[in-house]
């Protein structure tokens, strides 16, 4: 006795599961192009290098919060020696004023769920065009 039918069903389920990312993407017409981020400033340089900010901004912000809230320190000296006020609202969102087109687009893209806005007031939404985050 071979149980061929059951085994074939099992293989089909396995194939379906493994191929999930392929058929799901195909169904949603996904492309490998990541979302375009709109910074909302002409400033060329963030507090640290772009590469560092891209990968590690959450750790920097975490560190800022601890310094400010727990140690009462407010000034940050960057690796290039410049001094910044450690403040989400007064420093970060000054330049990064488009939360939806900047923060959210990327966070949604990789399913990151920051807790910033649980407490902080997001920058006022300035006539943002309702573009999808694609």
């Amino acid at each position: 006795m071979y149980d061929a039918g059951k085994i074939i069903v099992g293989i089909v389920i396995f194939l379906g599961a493994v191929a999930f990312p392929f058929w799901y993407n195909a169904g949603k017409a996904a492309t490998p192009t990541p979302p375009k981020l709109e910074v909302g400033t002409t400033e060329k340089q963030c507090v640290e290098s772009t590469a560092y900010m891209k990968s590690s901004h959450m750790q920097l912000l975490d560190q800022w919060r601890d310094e400010v809230v727990r140690n009462g320190k407010r000034l940050y000296v960057s690796s290039t020696g410049k001094t910044y006020e450690m403040s989400l609202q007064n420093t970060c969102t000054k330049c990064h004023s488009k939360k939806e087109q900047f923060c959210d687009r990327c966070h949604n893209y990789v399913d990151a769920a920051p807790k910033c806005w649980d407490c902080h007031v997001p920058p006022p939404e300035k006539k943002q065009t309702a573009r999808s985050t694609n």
């Binding site: 071979y2 993407n25 949603k28 492309t31 891209k54 975490d62």
Partner: protein, 334 residues
């Protein structure tokens, strides 16, 4: 070759694989090879390999119905039969297999025999192997499912839900996932018991240490990438979605730790179909578990059943006819 040699050979093999990825991407810039070519080959080998292995098993018949009965079989109507441990219908078999596959039922039975003065032998409860096994497998599964957030766009809500549950305690930034800890802990436990239990070490092969160390390597590189040597997730996802939309792109500048992680995963995928990891598919096919205990109730056909030489009654009577008649035993031929 003793277990220590196997252990060190496996360790060296995993370290070598890490170095290959570091060297290949970091020093000679083979991003496309490690980011596209090898992953595609790995996925292909994984899928084709597993199906090939399963078909290889499927080609072989199950000549006899040989369930290991672990409970009362179905007999008289007033005796309560145990359909899960000694299944008497398809639902029982499905239930038994589900318990086995999802809850590791048989492993849960585990005991530890110990010899004592007397001589006496005792059987203590020994659920650690079960716990380690179940933590390992479920953590691994959750982690794989969580990774779907990098593979597809938009992200299905069940994946988001899974991540938020997994990161429920919101420890540190980025949030520590419970399954990351569980996988590391369980794999370490499984590794250490293999190294330190003398009997287990004695039976261990390189083929036992290697996959554990490889998975530990994958988990450690993953955790490092998430929490220490951080990478640009936008680019990582761009690469992954590229693979899964068949438009491979290799964004420049993803750090090497990502390629180490990816390469180790690829090695695992390639290794899978040729190794003991095939127990994942094999558990479904095990005749001692997936056959029902209805042997006297329902016909079961062996496709290669063939006639054999038997000693017929006629031959038997020919041997003993006179004696039988003398003893008053009836015979067919006078």
């Amino acid at each position: 070759m003793n277990a220590w040699t196997s252990l060190f050979a496996s360790l060296i093999a995993v370290i070598a694989l890490v170095l290959v990825a570091l060297f290949g991407v970091g020093a000679i810039g083979l991003d496309t090879l490690f980011g596209v070519v090898i992953p595609y080959i790995a996925i292909a080998v994984f899928v084709v390999g597993i199906i090939y292995r399963i078909l290889e098993w499927a080609k072989v018949p199950v000549p006899f119905r040989i369930p290991t009965t672990c409970g009362q079989g179905k007999s008289l109507p007033w005796i309560k039969a145990d359909n899960l441990e000694s299944p008497y219908n398809t639902w029982g078999v499905i239930g038994r297999m589900a318990l086995e596959v999802f809850l590791f039922r048989s492993l849960f039975r585990n005991t530890k025999a110990e010899l004592r003065e007397g001589p006496n032998v005792t059987y203590g409860s020994a659920k650690w192997l079960w716990l380690g096994g179940i933590a390992f497998h479920y953590a691994f599964l959750t982690i794989v499912l969580r990774h779907i957030r990098f593979f597809v766009e938009p992200i299905p809500s069940f994946v988001e839900l899974l991540s938020s549950v997994d990161g429920f305690f919101q420890l540190l930034v980025p949030t520590v996932f419970l399954t990351d800890i569980a996988l590391l802990a369980a794999a370490t436990f499984l590794f250490l018991r293999r190294v330190f239990l003398p009997q287990l070490r004695y039976i261990s092969l390189a083929a036992d240490f290697f996959p554990l160390l490889l998975i530990l390597g994958i988990a450690i590189s993953g955790v490092l990438m998430r929490n220490v040597w951080k990478v640009d997730l936008l680019m990582v996802k761009q690469l992954a979605v590229g693979l899964f939309t068949l438009h491979p792109t290799v964004p420049a500048g993803i750090s090497s730790i990502f390629y180490v992680h990816l390469f180790l995963v690829c090695v695992l995928l390639v290794y899978f179909p040729f190794s003991k990891l095939m127990h994942a598919g094999g558990v479904f096919l095990s005749p001692t578990r997936n056959t029902a205990n209805v042997n006297r109730m329902e016909r079961y056909v062996n496709p290669w059943n063939y006639p054999v030489k038997v000693h017929s009654y006629a031959e038997y009577e020919d041997d003993f006819r006179e004696k039988m008649k003398e003893a008053g035993i009836p015979v067919d031929k006078e």
